[in-house]
Symmetry: C2
Subunit: 144 residues, 2 copies
């Protein structure tokens, strides 16, 4: 009665493959910036507004301190961010951009175009995909 599910019929595998392919397309461009994809995501958040605490970055990106703490140390080693204990709440660590970290945003401006060029989808399809994925992610999160 219960049949073995088939790989190619599964939406979850399609998501898994597409996500890996997207980061693979970004990899060569991000290599030039000296960033990995998760590091790039952290920098994107900081370029929007900084400083941000580790907690805030985690909420924004869906990552916990087990992932972020060593990642942020690597960004600090690269000279892109600075980690400072908050004065008001000494439990918090505020992540500040360095001048070098701020300057990197200019070189990163062309990164997203890479995916647009490679996607092979119309702007309308991309917009619909984005919308569907957003609703899917929200529904999945509320199911956990």
């Amino acid at each position: 009665m219960t049949e073995a599910p088939r790989l190619n019929h599964q939406v979850c595998f399609a998501l898994y493959s597409a996500s890996k392919a997207a980061t693979a397309v970004y990899r060569p461009v991000l290599d030039e910036l000296g960033l990995t994809y998760p590091q790039y995501l952290v920098m994107l958040v900081l370029w929007e507004d900084e400083p941000r605490s580790v907690r805030e970055l985690g909420t924004e990106l869906g990552l916990d301190s087990g992932t972020l703490s060593p990642l942020l140390k690597r960004l600090e080693t690269l000279g892109l961010v600075e980690r400072r204990r908050s004065a008001e709440d000494e439990r918090r660590v505020e992540i500040h951009l360095t001048d070098q970290g701020r300057a990197l945003s200019e070189r990163a401006g062309a990164v997203p175009q890479r995916l647009a060029d490679a996607a092979g989808l119309s702007p309308a399809e991309l917009a619909q995909l984005h919308d569907t994925l957003g609703r899917l992610t929200a529904a999945l999160h509320s199911a956990i």
Copy 2:
């Protein structure tokens, strides 16, 4: 000019988030089977047809031997597969299901329904999402 790249960056992050959310929804069900998500994907391929070489599994799943070799050893330790050197070509390692590995497919039949239930999307939307993701992945791969 800054509009399209912005949208596409969001599509990339939307893929990353949706993929993580999907595996998070599967996690409790797969825990009951004693499998991780990538291990489940390998079992899906083997349930369709076996034995398969490490190379074939890698082509099917987009994974290399650096990922698959230790993963397959863990599946062997669990008693779900057996690794045998091929007689015709001694470079190849054929992955065979054990009786226990074959039996697990029955308990796995209900797994995909979990995502469908939690997705909050209509069957038509899920089908369209699957189609769009397939075309996106193909286009991205041809761009690497």
